[in-house]
Amino acid sequence: MSAKRIFIKGNEAIAQGALDAGCRCYFGYPITPQNDIPEMLSSAMPAAGGEFVQAESEVASANMLLGAAACGVRAMTTSSSPGVSLMQEAISYMAGSELPGVIVNMNRGGPGLGDIGSSQGDYYQSVKGGGHGDYRTLVLAPASCQECYDLTFEAFDLAFKYRNPVLLLGDAIVGQMKEPVTPRPALPLDPEAGADWKLTGRGERAPRILKSLFLDDGALAGQNLHLQQKYRSMQAEVRYEAFETADAELIVVAFGSIGRIAKSTVRSLRAQGFKVGLFRPITLFPFPEAELRALAGQGKRFLTIEHNLGQMVDDVRLAVRGLTDSDFFGFLPGNMPTPEDFDAPIRAAVKGA
């Protein structure tokens, strides 16, 4: 065994991953079920020489994130569904101004105040924009405490690599559960990061402006084309887990906590002789479209399972369009999903051949 494992909540793993990745500015406003993150960072961030600010609202924390990002600092804000709704304007501005920052959404039940339990109801908001304008954010969906750590750690690199907001979409389950996590060596801060665009005080160099307003003739068209090209290049970041898909006749597609819970169901059905597998997208944008399409090309059928009433299933259907379709099973928010809940839907989908 290499590094020593630590036993922490998914929320704490996110906080630790951010610290180890060199995040030195945190802004947030309390909301369940992610309060372990600001609670931990309120002491750990100052101890690491960074800034912790409990903002007056989520609108403020997201705009503080924009400001820190403009200075080229590794910065993060975290919240849960209703709070993330309030951040959407700033996220759109960050995308438009090409600013790197990490936003964590530990999804809870909705719409509105919903509840404090687990849900995947924010898939559309996370993946299809959320704010206004034709923009995308990288969206990472952890299913374990280790992934909470690793994906947060890597989110900062991705944000700076693409000069783009990166969204981590977890939920109440992965945030509240505890697992062993192997941390990585902390990254030294790179003083050169963003050297060609960040605002540092003009001094002797040419003036810089970071903006999302483009009024000159054709300027906004050019900016949108440039952004789209960047979003297409993000395809290089596609990640997923494929479990027992090689000889599977039916593939369950599920992300995050639901992906790992469905994995238990798939294992149990495998043991009973059913040829089922699991495909778990880890990046929700970019979506692992080509990989799903390849599986569809092999004649496999699909069942998408989500903790909502059907959102990611749209992207699965788009991926396999013209070849096959995907069945859907939605587990309602307000309840705790267990492997047994997915047993009957998977059996029914297997029979549906």
Binding site: F7, I173, Q176, M177, K178, R260, T265, M336, P339
Partner: protein, 183 residues
């Protein structure tokens, strides 16, 4: 045969069910295994049962949430009513017989392990260690981990200002283990 064990630990707030869940999971990790711990919140938070689920395995763990557990640690009556029907046939049912009449357990369907956790903890000097007694009995009955692994992990889950209580808690774990089969 791969190692896999899951347990729901349930009682009322203040009985320390979350603490022994953490302890069991931590000990599993230190023993080189994969573990998950999840506190399960719901409407039962108010006045009813507090519970958590721990999974220990030498394989990667899928679901941290279990509806049909292989074992239970039941610290009070409402928890027995709620979780006994979910326990798999032949599953291990550790019952705090100080507060729950073991006759309520379906001994023909499950493997009943009664332990007078409150009395034993009392005899060691503090009723509040009933949770440790029950965990000791559980570890002995299931063999999921060596008891020493659990004892060695006490220092990691008990807050520093209570560290003087660790030897007594280790004693409570051993007393619970020793009580298995004697009730």
């Amino acid at each position: 045969m791969s190692l896999y064990q899951d347990v729901i630990i349930a009682g009322f707030g203040g009985q320390g069910v979350m603490l022994i869940g953490n302890l069991l999971a931590y000990a599993g990790m230190e023993h080189g295994l994969n573990v998950t711990y999840i506190p399960v919140y719901g409407p039962e938070m108010r006045g009813g049962t507090a519970n958590c689920t721990v999974v220990v395995s030498d394989d990667a763990i899928g679901s941290p949430i279990i509806r049909s557990p292989k074992s239970l640690i039941i610290m009070n009556r409402p928890s027995l009513d709620k979780f006994q029907p979910q326990l798999i046939d032949g599953g291990v049912l550790v019952v705090n017989s100080s507060l729950v009449d073991p006759a309520l357990a379906d001994a023909s369907r499950v493997r009943l392990v009664p332990v007078a956790a409150n009395e034993i903890a009392d005899s060691l000097g503090n009723t509040r260690m009933a949770n440790m007694v029950a965990l000791g009995a559980y570890v002995e009955a299931t063999g999921v981990l060596p008891l020493s692994a659990v004892e060695d992990s006490l220092g990691h889950v008990i807050a520093k200002h209570y560290s003087h209580l660790i030897p007594k808690n280790a004693e409570a774990l051993r007393a619970g283990a020793a009580a298995v089969g004697k009730a």
